[in-house]
């Protein structure tokens, strides 16, 4: 086929071309049809489950969940925090590391950012779903209205509303303009008319003019510079959703940094998982190298330890403050009904993590994957623990009560996975999932010793499959 030829010639030509072929070749001639369809099928099923659960919820009201008084926020809110936390890693990796001139990020940032987009979408859906009257959610937005009444800007929820909105917009823009040059590459490689037009429009007619590159770089770096504090602010505000209330176990000044670090922690874990899966699935070992895994491992370890520090500070603060309700809540986390979530968080977050001190563990895809998975679960436990232990036992013993997650909350959670994976799968299927041009740039600037492709290159493998 024509495109095989072109690829062969290309790959025989230069390393630059090879990289592009490897990246762009995936959407152009997709190598893994069967597996992809299986995953996509599952994702679609989950998406359907989401619509069913949401339907049941809207039809009957929040009562179908396990929420009650006092625990009137359930896993809807803890999942919200969890998803958003995961999302942050994408931005951090691409923005922070870009600013820190960590060229190795270039192999990861694209799908990390994509992951951000969909994680934030999932997060953003939860607060709306959990409303008593979801069809009125737009009242959170300030718009001129016949009631002459506005949102209440002292409320953490209003802050969240703006934070999530901003964050979503910025992430989309950041991801998109970062992708445009590779879309141009795809356009130029594509042979089928439809794909030429498809990528052509998305690429906005990018031609790689030096002047364009200069302006592009200004905008891109500035966005990155702003995105980092944005991430911090967003998750700080999420934490205020709890910390702003007078509830023991919530009302703590350590929450904002605690939440931000936790977010990064869980996020890096998920990024590692995705990286490992993708490089395995598409033979990207020489783009996403063991070095990348090693660095991800280190990041994970670092953020993990900082999160652990947050745990310690929390305990310290409670006892240092000596406020009886605080201490009782803390003690209840250790020993109470929901102690499982506390110890679950500790066990999943910090025990396997210690393996990462060893280079061997960091560079072993399997181990790193398992550890990351543990962290993702552990952070879910943590969010759950923070939320429920705060609510179910607060000041007046008379109003204490337990909370059981209902089946419809679980199905909704599973459904959210569908909301996440359907677009994500479409993305890796149809768009270049690695920033080829940046890899080339680094290659040119010789900042990173690129693993010379042993025996056959990924591109050849791919063409072999096509």
């Amino acid at each position: 086929m024509a495109q095989d030829v072109s690829i062969r010639t290309a790959s025989s030509r230069s390393r630059y071309a090879e990289i592009t072929q490897e990246v762009v070749g995936i959407p152009l001639s997709y190598p893994r049809w069967r597996n992809w369809w299986i995953c996509f099928g599952i994702a679609l099923a989950l998406l359907l489950l989401f619509f069913v659960s949401a339907g049941v919820l809207f039809w009957n009201g929040v009562g179908v969940w396990g929420n009650n008084i006092p625990v009137n926020w359930g896993i809807a809110i803890s999942n919200y925090v969890w998803w958003l936390g995961i999302g942050h890693a994408g931005t951090l990796i691409s923005a922070m590391l870009l600013l820190l001139n960590q060229p190795w990020r270039n192999a990861l940032n694209r799908f990390a950012e994509a992951m951000t987009l969909f994680a934030v979408t999932c997060a953003g859906l939860y607060p709306i779903l959990h409303l008593g009257r979801p069809w009125r959610f737009y009242w959170m937005a300030p718009y001129p209205n016949t009631m002459n009444i506005w949102p209440q800007f002292r409320s953490p929820l209003t802050w969240d509303f703006f934070a999530v909105l901003t964050y979503l917009t910025v992430s989309i823009l950041f991801w998109y303009i970062g992708t445009v040059p590779d879309l141009a590459a795809s356009r130029d490689r594509a042979r089928a008319r439809f794909w030429q037009v498809f990528y052509g429009i998305l690429a906005l007619g990018w031609r790689g003019s030096a002047i364009h590159w200069a302006r592009w770089r200004q905008a891109y770096r500035l966005t990155a510079a702003i995105a980092v504090p944005l991430v911090v602010s967003v998750h700080s505000e999420i934490s205020l959703l709890f910390a702003a209330g007078p509830i023991p176990g919530w009302n703590s000044t350590v929450f904002p940094p605690y939440f931000v670090l936790g977010a990064a922690f869980s996020g890096f874990a998920v990024v590692s998982m995705i990286a490992i899966v993708l490089r395995r699935a598409f033979y990207l070992q020489n783009l996403v190298t063991t070095r990348h895994l090693d660095l991800l491992g280190k990041l994970l370890l670092a953020t993990g330890l900082m999160t652990a520090y947050g745990y310690i500070v929390e305990i310290y603060a409670a006892y240092y403050g000596g406020e009886r309700y605080e201490m009782e809540t803390l003690w209840d986390r250790f020993t109470g009904v929901y102690a499982f979530s506390y110890w679950g968080a500790i066990a999943c977050n910090f025990v396997p993590l210690q393996l990462l001190w060893l280079r061997g563990a960091r560079t072993s895809p399997f181990l790193l994957f398992v550890i990351s998975l543990a962290v993702a679960v552990g952070m879910w436990f943590e969010r759950y623990m923070l939320l429920v232990t705060g609510l179910y036992k607060d000041y007046l013993p008379s109003s204490w009560g337990l909370y059981d997650v209902s089946i419809w909350e679980w199905t909704l959670y599973a459904g959210m996975m569908g909301v996440f994976f359907v677009p994500f799968l479409l993305l890796i299927r149809f768009l270049p999932m690695i920033s080829a041009f940046e890899v080339k740039e680094t290659l040119y600037e010789g900042k990173v010793q690129h693993s010379p492709s042993v025996e056959r290159t990924g591109a050849e493998r791919i063409s072999g499959h096509a």
Binding site: N60, I69, P70, L131, R136, Q152, L396, S399
Partner: protein, 992 residues
């Protein structure tokens, strides 16, 4: 947001009507059916509850109310589906749409009148308040009275006359009764028996007198399952005279109760609570004391308020009374040996009583041996309490035709076939008869069985004839209150659900089928008053009672020197069972009233079920816990129900509650609790030994509104030694003290007068729940059912928290009503993203339902967890009756919005508007919140806190004043007064 119920309710109502259907079928929507009588009859047989008698009430009247209420509906705003309004055809003189009218009348409880002022909106009663002018209640009510209005609208009420279970026409009944009357005239009433519940109605008395005179051989029986016959026995024993004992707790500085729950639920609760509160408040001011000594086997409200509560087996009561008697020099036969604790308690009580001769009172529970009670009376006589704190009078309750006329006797005669015709009037023996009487079987032997009642109940099912009775709020009647004063009952409702009043039914039995209740009642009083009649009649209706109508006081002679010796019965081995009426459904008559079913029992906080109380020790021994199903056996009978481990319960005493496990169909009562009547015998109605308890291994899912009972050493409820409490502190000093606690980095809003606040005196709260039901009735609060309560989703805006402190065997119990605190630094307001809850300039924490989107942040941030959330659409499917019951001044909340206590803002606003129109300021006390108005002990005060002269301000200036969770610094406007700890001589431990 949905319109206040009445609008939608009346909407369908009128719409159906105007579709040209006949009036009497509104309520159930029979209009789809052909008007052909046989078809109707056929269908009615299918759905008896749908059946209606022939034209029950003037259509025109209904239309009046309807029209008017729709006008009202319209302008207070109405839902989209009600897009038209219907004026009167002919406007009635005295009804102003949009303004409630109040009528003085009463509802009945155990035969006694509970005087009320009924609020009606264009002919629909929506709320009952105590009659403020009535000396017996002074405007207060109990929980049952508050809920009575729901009983009126109960959709399950019987609405049609039935013969053999099928709808019949009244004419058929009349024919039967007339012919029967003729037959009975021939035989002087041979074989005719009448069975009623306890009644104090003078009219009833007159009618029955007429009946027995006309038919000397007819007999009239009274069966009141929860009656206190024992007290009359006691007086007969003491003075050979059947007398009513009247406690004047307002004068009793020392009250010694032997297993007698004077403050507990019952027909006289309001009366007693009022009196006690008066005394307690005086004591708070340092004027005399107010101490309660209680010796009881199972916790009671009186016990909770006691200065010294001794836990003793029921069998020990007689011994204790005897011991006290001998202590005070009243001969009482052989002395009994006392345990150390008992001895100390007796000595303490004796000292206190002697110190307060004529200002003390000794009472013995009616369920105890009359001889023991008589001894108690003698002690009172000896102490000079008789005539002071204890007076006697002719019984308010009527007495059956003769001594022997009790239910067992009736059943015996029925079995012997001596009863040819039995008329059961507002009485349900098939359910409430003692287990040793097989009432159902006995009924077989009776030819003509006629039943008249509010429901087609268990007894109705055994009768050929069933006639629906009118509810107290629909009918003309009369009755005597706890203090003996007679009240004339008048209909509150502008239309009728059908049925006839007791008086009319009685007249019918006598063969007069053309009478109506007003005439019957008027006749009674015309006979008593003579002319001029109308004036007195009218003023009696306006006042709500008849001054000076109480039975004359009797000053009895004390013939016997010493009471007959009483033996203390106590089987060491087995358990003693004490039977109690249920604190919320009483003897079962309220079982179908959702407000009372969902109302948490004062001491267990259980809803929708009755439980079997066992002591912690016993529970440990039997390896049972709260909720485990247990089988209780005594003398061959047994009941199976859920155990409840009750702190403060006597070790070997088991308490069962009447009123549940009913078999009659009723969508509310269905499948609730167990039937304790099945273990009760006619000989030992209230307590009996020789019981055995065994777990069945099953569990019951109990729905309790409070899962944690321990104070956990927290200071929600505070105590203060009496000396400190009485020290007067100046308002200024108090204010400074407040300022000290009130720190903020924000600019302080200064609230100008009026600015509302509340003060709740935990020292006066007896946990009776009247406030809770009042709140439900006033604010259209929906009931959610057992499952939802179990999930923690009950909707009460006001809850009465109950805490224990100390050892489970003998804890200190405290009550604390918790409404919204209306914090000035409210976290909830800060949390709301859409300004749905904000602070009003007059200090209210406002909740705007139609703005709320249900983020529930306010609830998360509320330290008191007083907010309630509509998890589902809780009001949409209410039947028209329930919608008609709703308060039109309060929005009916839709699904997904938050709600909470508003300080009854609708009352505040309407009072303000009235004051403005009259060009004056709102007077202190002019605005009463529903809870405050209902409270029989004046524990709740509400008013303008910006004005230092108001009652509430003066209360807040007291040294006992404290805020709940001060440390959270929310600046609550609802504050509490600490409970006063009495120093009890001879008792080591201090008790609140």
């Amino acid at each position: 947001m949905r319109s206040s119920g009445l609008h939608t309710g009346d909407a369908d109502w009128i719409r159906r009507h105007l579709d040209g259907k006949s009036g009497h079928s509104f309520w159930r929507g029979l209009e789809e059916l052909s008007e052909a009588p046989e078809f109707k009859r056929l269908l009615a047989a299918e759905f008896p509850s749908l059946a209606q008698g022939p034209m029950d009430f003037a259509r025109r009247d209904v239309l009046k109310c309807l029209g008017a209420s729709l006008v009202l509906a319209g302008l207070t705003g109405c839902s989209e589906d009600l897009n038209y309004s219907v004026p009167y055809v002919e406007a009635p003189e005295n009804i102003i749409p949009g303004r409630p009218k109040y009528y003085a009348t009463a509802v009945l409880m155990g035969g006694y009148a509970q005087p009320i002022l009924g609020e009606t909106h264009v002919g629909r009663p929506t709320k009952l308040e105590g009659n403020p002018d009535h000396p017996a209640c002074l405007g207060a009510t109990d929980a049952f009275t508050q809920a009575a209005v729901l009983g009126l609208y109960d959709p399950d009420r019987s609405r049609s006359l039935r013969y053999m279970g099928r709808p019949a026409a009244w004419a058929e009944l009349d024919a039967m009764l007339v012919s029967q009357a003729a037959r009975l005239d021939a035989t002087a009433g041979q074989g005719f028996c009448l069975l009623t519940g306890a009644t104090s109605s003078p009219t009833m008395g007159r009618q029955l007198k007429a009946l027995t005179e006309r038919w000397p051989r007819a007999r009239w029986y009274i069966h009141e399952p929860a009656g206190e016959e024992g007290r009359f026995e006691a007086t007969r024993l003491a003075f050979g005279q059947r007398l009513e004992q009247r406690f004047h707790l307002d004068r009793a500085e020392v009250l010694v109760c032997f297993d007698d729950d004077v403050l507990g639920p019952g027909p006289k609760q309001t009366y007693h609570a009022r009196g006690w509160a008066t005394r307690r408040q005086a004591a708070q001011r340092g004027e005399g004391g107010c101490k309660i000594w209680v010796a009881e086997p199972t916790p009671s409200l009186t016990g909770v308020m006691a200065s010294w509560r001794a836990i003793v087996a029921p069998g020990r009561i007689s011994a204790l009374v005897a011991a006290l008697a001998s202590q005070l020099g009243v001969p009482s036969g052989p002395a009994h040996s006392l345990a150390e604790e008992e001895r100390r308690w007796i000595e303490g009580a004796a000292v206190a009583l002697e110190a307060h001769g004529g200002r003390g009172l000794v009472s013995v529970g009616h369920q105890h041996d009359p001889a023991v009670q008589a001894l108690g009376l003698l002690i009172n006589a000896k102490l000079g309490n008789v005539g002071a704190t204890l007076t006697f009078a002719e019984p308010s309750l009527l007495q059956a035709s003769d001594e022997g006329a009790t239910l067992p006797d009736l059943v015996r005669r029925m079995e012997a076939g001596e009863v040819s015709s039995l008329a059961v009037l507002d009485c349900n023996p098939a359910y409430t008869a003692p287990a040793d009487l097989d009432f159902a079987a006995a009924m077989e032997r009776v030819e003509t069985r006629f039943h008249a009642g509010l429901y087609f109940d268990e007894t109705a099912a055994l009768c050929q004839w069933h006639a629906p009775l009118k509810h107290d709020l629909e009918t003309w009647s009369d009755a005597r209150a706890a203090d003996g004063l007679a009240t004339i009952l008048q209909p509150l409702i502008g239309f009728s659900f059908g049925g006839r009043s007791q008086h009319v039914i009685l007249e019918n039995c006598l063969g007069d089928v053309f009478t109506e209740d007003r005439a019957v009642v008027a006749e009674t009083w015309r006979a008593i008053w003579g002319e001029p009649f109308e004036e007195r009649w009218h003023s009696a209706l306006v006042a709500g009672f008849i001054p000076g109508s109480a039975p004359p006081e009797v000053v009895p002679q004390f013939p016997l020197e010493s009471a007959p010796p009483v033996a203390s019965v106590s089987r060491a081995e087995e358990l003693t069972v004490v039977v109690r009426t249920d604190p919320t459904v009483w003897d079962g008559r309220f079982a179908n009233i959702a407000w009372l079913q969902e109302l948490p029992k004062p001491l267990t906080k259980v809803t929708w079920d009755n439980v079997i109380l066992v002591s912690p020790a016993l529970a440990e021994k039997l390896k049972i816990e709260t909720g485990s199903e247990v089988r209780l056996e005594a003398s061959g009978r047994s009941v199976t129900g859920p155990a409840w481990v009750m702190p403060g319960q006597e070790q070997r005493t088991v308490t069962v509650f009447l009123g549940y496990g009913r078999t009659m169909p009723g969508r509310v009562m269905e499948g609730t609790g167990y039937d304790a009547y099945r273990i009760r015998t006619s000989r030992e109605t209230w307590q009996f030994g020789g019981a055995r308890l065994a777990p069945t291994g099953k569990k019951w899912q109990l729905a309790s509104t409070q899962l944690h009972f321990a104070l956990e050493g927290r200071d929600m409820v505070r105590f203060m030694p009496s000396e400190e409490a009485s020290t007067k502190r100046s308002g200024a000093a108090q204010a400074k003290g407040k300022g000290a606690q009130r720190e903020t980095i924000y600019p302080v809003y200064d609230y100008e007068s009026p600015s509302w606040g509340m003060s709740i005196d935990t020292d006066l709260c007896i946990g009776c729940n009247a406030c809770v039901v009042a709140c439900v009735a006033e604010n259209n609060i929906p009931m959610v059912g057992k499952e939802q309560v179990a999930k923690g989703r009950e909707m009460f805006w006001l809850r009465v928290d109950r805490y224990y402190e100390g050892p489970p065997e003998d804890p200190r119990t405290v009550f604390q009503p918790v409404p919204c605190m209306h914090c000035e630094k409210a976290p909830c307001e800060m949390g709301c993203p859409v300004n749905a809850t904000t602070h009003s300039p007059d200090g209210l924490n406002q909740q705007v339902y139609n703005r709320c989107i249900g983020t529930r942040t306010c609830l998360s941030f509320c330290p008191y967890k007083v907010r309630r959330f509509n998890w589902f659409d809780l009001t949409g499917n209410d039947p028209p009756e329930i919608q008609a019951l709703r308060n039109p001044d309060v929005t009916v909340r839709a699904r997904g919005v938050m709600e909470k206590c508003t300080y009854c803002v609708q009352r505040i606003r309407s009072a303000e508007i009235q004051a403005k129109i009259e060009g004056r300021a709102v007077r202190d006390g002019e605005i009463q919140t529903a809870c405050q108005q209902a409270c029989p002990t004046s524990a709740i005060a509400f008013g303008d806190v910006a004005d230092s002269e108001t009652i509430v301000s003066r209360r807040k200036a007291s040294p006992r004043d404290y805020s709940l969770l001060e440390e959270v610094n929310t600046w609550p406007r609802t504050t509490y007064l600490a409970r006063i700890e009495d120093e009890t001589p001879g008792n080591g431990s201090k008790r609140g």
